[in-house]
């Protein structure tokens, strides 16, 4: 299992599209920085193909005033959870 890390919103460039196309069936995706916008209900459908494997970083949601505005299908993790995700993955790939 690999962890893909995306720091771009779905409508900013091709990072999300490229990450999704590179993901294997067990891989997970973590949204950080501006990428957390993808956790909003209006944008989360971009990630329909990986439901249950989508995470967003608490600190970056909070910094943008988006806590409690994210879709319930997104699992929110704090930075310690970010570290845990990297422990569980055999490697990480960053898309930016």
């Amino acid at each position: 299992m690999k962890l893909h890390i995306v720091n771009r919103a779905p409508d900013a460039g091709r990072a999300v599209e490229q990450a999704l196309s590179a993901m294997a069936a067990e891989d997970r995706l973590l949204l950080i920085e501006d990428g957390v916008q993808g956790a909003l209900p209006s944008l989360v459908d971009e990630f329909a193909s990986i439901e249950g494997r989508l995470y967003a970083l608490h600190e970056d949601l909070e910094a943008r005033g988006l806590m409690n505005r994210h879709d319930e299908r997104v699992e929110v993790v704090d930075v310690e959870g970010f570290v845990t995700l990297t422990e569980q993955a055999e490697r990480t790939l960053s898309w930016y």
Binding site: I5, N7, I32, E33, D34, E59, D60, V79, E80, F82, V83, T84, T86, E87, R91, T92, L93, S94, W95, Y96
Partner: protein
């Protein structure tokens, strides 16, 4: 686990440096070892000795230096990316006939081969891009 971080974002231009430093502190707090932070592309500006941000903002250069002092993290700066951006240690400044230097210990100028070594020897390499 043994971790390494690759940082390619410029300080204060995008969030990458702040994200990387926050991640570094979190993994150390969980008991992992952080072997190296490798600064590449615009990430090399994190090694600017003369950086003087406002006192009420995080001082990234000092933040990295503290990781070295407290946890023995090596701070490796890609020499090719650094020199062309005016980031030279005393040795390189002298070699290029410059009157001052802009990089000092604990940051060290190294080659890209070091990044390959880090990628091979560490359990996890996490990249923070611009």
């Amino acid at each position: 686990m043994r971790y390494a971080i690759l940082l390619m974002g410029a300080p204060y231009s995008d969030q990458a440096s702040h994200s990387a430093l926050r991640f570094a502190r979190a993994l150390l707090a969980r008991g992992h070892r952080l072997e190296t932070v490798f600064f590449y592309h615009d990430g090399v500006y994190n090694a600017a000795r003369l950086a003087a941000p406002p006192q009420d903002e995080p001082h990234l250069v000092d933040g990295w230096a503290a990781l070295h002092a407290e946890h023995g993290v090596t701070l490796q700066v890609c020499i090719a990316a650094a020199l062309r951006r005016g980031l030279l240690d005393e040795r390189e400044a002298s070699r290029h006939g410059k009157s001052g230097h802009s990089v000092e210990a604990p940051f060290e100028l190294t080659g890209l081969g070091q990044l390959v070594d880090v990628g091979l020897s560490c359990d996890r390499l996490v990249t923070f891009g611009p």
